[in-house]
């Protein structure tokens, strides 16, 4: 693939660094008028999600990373892999546990996920910000308590456990914010 010079660095550019695909977050050009130019760069490692800072001499180059983001539909898990499909061309992809990461807590068949592909293989799976899941188990709590104060744990159909208000009952569906893992509301069918 192509190389990118520091002067082409901009937010969102995908490059290879120490063997890992990375995305540039921020790039600042610094240079004393009569001196060496540098690029101060913030980079996210797309495999680990870690953000690191780098200093480059200007005009250094890095190899481009073959990274694309696709919206894929989650199909099923077979114990080793999680399977996704591109509904435009029916192409299927399998993601390993490292790529699925925390998303596993929220994944449900037919979810449309943002999947980062490196050399055509998933390296990062992002679930929608909000998902609706059924409560499979929670203490009955007190009938008639609608204040929501206090709360209690509830196990969802994916196995995730979230704190819900006391009035939420087994078999009800709730909306959860996957970024914080917090209960948002009850959902009536």
């Amino acid at each position: 693939m192509a190389n990118y010079s520091t002067s082409e660095f901009r937010g969102g550019l995908k490059i290879m660094l120490d063997g890992d695909p990375c995305s540039i977050i921020e790039n600042e050009f610094v240079k004393p008028g009569k001196g060496q130019a540098f690029n101060r760069v913030k980079i996210r490692n797309l495999k680990t999600g870690r953000v690191l800072e780098k200093t480059f001499k200007s005009n250094e180059t890095l190899a481009a990373a073959d990274v694309v983001e696709r919206e894929l539909e989650y199909l099923y898990a077979d114990g080793d892999f999680w399977h996704f499909m591109d509904s435009d061309n029916y192409e299927q992809y399998q993601a390993d546990a490292a790529a699925v990461g925390d998303a596993v807590k929220w994944l449900q068949a037919q979810d449309r996920c943002q999947v980062t592909l490196w050399n055509d293989a998933p390296i990062l799976v992002e679930v929608p910000n909000f998902v609706v899941l059924q409560v499979t188990e929670t203490d009955p709590g007190l009938k008639g308590d609608t204040s929501g104060g206090g709360g209690k744990p509830a196990t969802l159909e994916t196995g995730a456990v979230v704190r819900v208000p006391l009035f939420v009952q087994t078999d009800e569906k709730i909306k959860v914010d996957t970024r914080t893992g917090e209960y948002v509301s009850r959902v009536k069918d």
């Binding site: 610094v30 240079k31 008028g33 009569k34 001196g35 200093t55 001499k57 005009n59």
Partner: protein
């Protein structure tokens, strides 16, 4: 059709800023008219460029004569030829071009105010720079002056005259500059890195600071200080951490000047940069005799940024590189 609508064709500068620039240019011209300094124009292109390894030219192919031309990185050599020809004090407001310099504080094409004062010392000229800046920046910001090496002593407890490359690298690592351990830099590039990462951000905010007596290895076109030849009669002006100007007690010695051109080209070769032709007409002018003088170049776009309290050149240029 919708694709066309999404293209950002508008200027980066607001109308108010465009008016402030016109006002700024007027005040600069008034300032020099009152002091009997002559406004001049010199070409924006030419057969020579200068050899400074830190400045890369835009190269233009002149087809009719099969020649390589350069867009000027500063009007310095042309203006010195005017001085050698007996112009007396002169100033110029012109565009300068430097390849690859793009960022919040850099644009490959920018506006330079450059002036020369025969008979002035560097400190005479610094006083005049301060007077102009206080006029342009509206208020009367404090002016402080401190030698380049002293900043390293104050902020990094580092004696730059004693420190070798290993000591500079260790200092950069101790300051937690990312990748300090892996960067392959020449000595002056280490100083540059420490300067931009550790010292520039510490310069006193909202005031004018002169940095003086740069190390001889960074003399550029300045004379060495006779009382301490480890340093050169070169100064820079900062507003807070924003570099605004660079000035010299101008080197007039033709042999020394030629030697520096060759040293620059040798450094260019080491770094894999193109070597650049020496400006034979400039050298001939020096041979004829450049009057003893001091000169300075001010980045007017940055002055406008400082005056308006803006953080990016894109806000003070009609069409910065990203919009050109």
């Amino acid at each position: 059709m919708s694709a066309v609508l999404r293209i950002d064709w508008r200027p980066g500068a607001s109308l108010q800023t465009i008016q402030a620039r016109a006002q700024l240019l007027r005040r600069v011209r008034d300032f020099f008219a009152a002091r009997d300094v002559l406004e001049v124009e010199t070409p924006l292109s030419g057969r020579a460029f200068g050899t400074d390894p830190a400045i890369e030219p835009f190269v233009v192919r002149e087809k009719s004569r099969e020649e390589t031309w350069y867009l000027q990185g500063s009007p310095e050599f042309y203006m010195k030829r005017l001085l050698a020809a007996g112009s007396g004090p002169i100033y110029q407001i012109s565009k300068a071009f430097r390849q690859g310099e793009i960022g919040r504080r850099h644009n490959p094409e920018f506006t330079l105010l450059e002036w020369y004062r025969p008979g002035f010392s560097a400190s005479d000229l610094m006083a005049e720079v301060a007077a102009l800046m206080q006029d342009l920046l509206g208020t009367t910001p404090v002016v402080q002056s401190c030698a380049y090496a002293e900043w390293f002593t104050h902020i990094l407890q580092l004696d730059i005259f004693a420190a070798d490359v290993a000591a500079l690298r260790a200092c950069a690592a101790a300051q937690q500059i990312p990748d300090a351990a892996d960067l392959g830099l020449e000595r002056d590039a280490w100083l540059d890195l420490l300067w931009v990462e550790c010292i520039e951000p510490q310069l006193p905010p909202d005031q004018l600071t002169f940095v003086t007596d740069y190390p001889a290895s960074q003399a550029a076109l300045a004379e060495l200080n006779p009382q301490d030849p480890r340093t050169a009669a070169r100064f820079e002006l900062y507003y807070g951490g924003l570099e605004l100007a660079n000035g010299f007690q101008e080197l007039t010695n033709v042999a020394e000047q030629t030697a520096r051109f060759h040293a620059d080209n040798a450094q260019r070769e080491r770094a894999g940069q193109a070597m650049l032709p020496l400006d034979s007409r400039f050298i001939a002018a020096l041979q004829h005799g450049l009057p003893r003088c001091a000169g300075v170049a001010v980045g007017l776009d940055r002055v406008l940024m400082a005056q308006l309290g803006l953080s990016s050149l894109d806000q003070v240029l009609t069409f910065s590189a990203e919009r050109a």
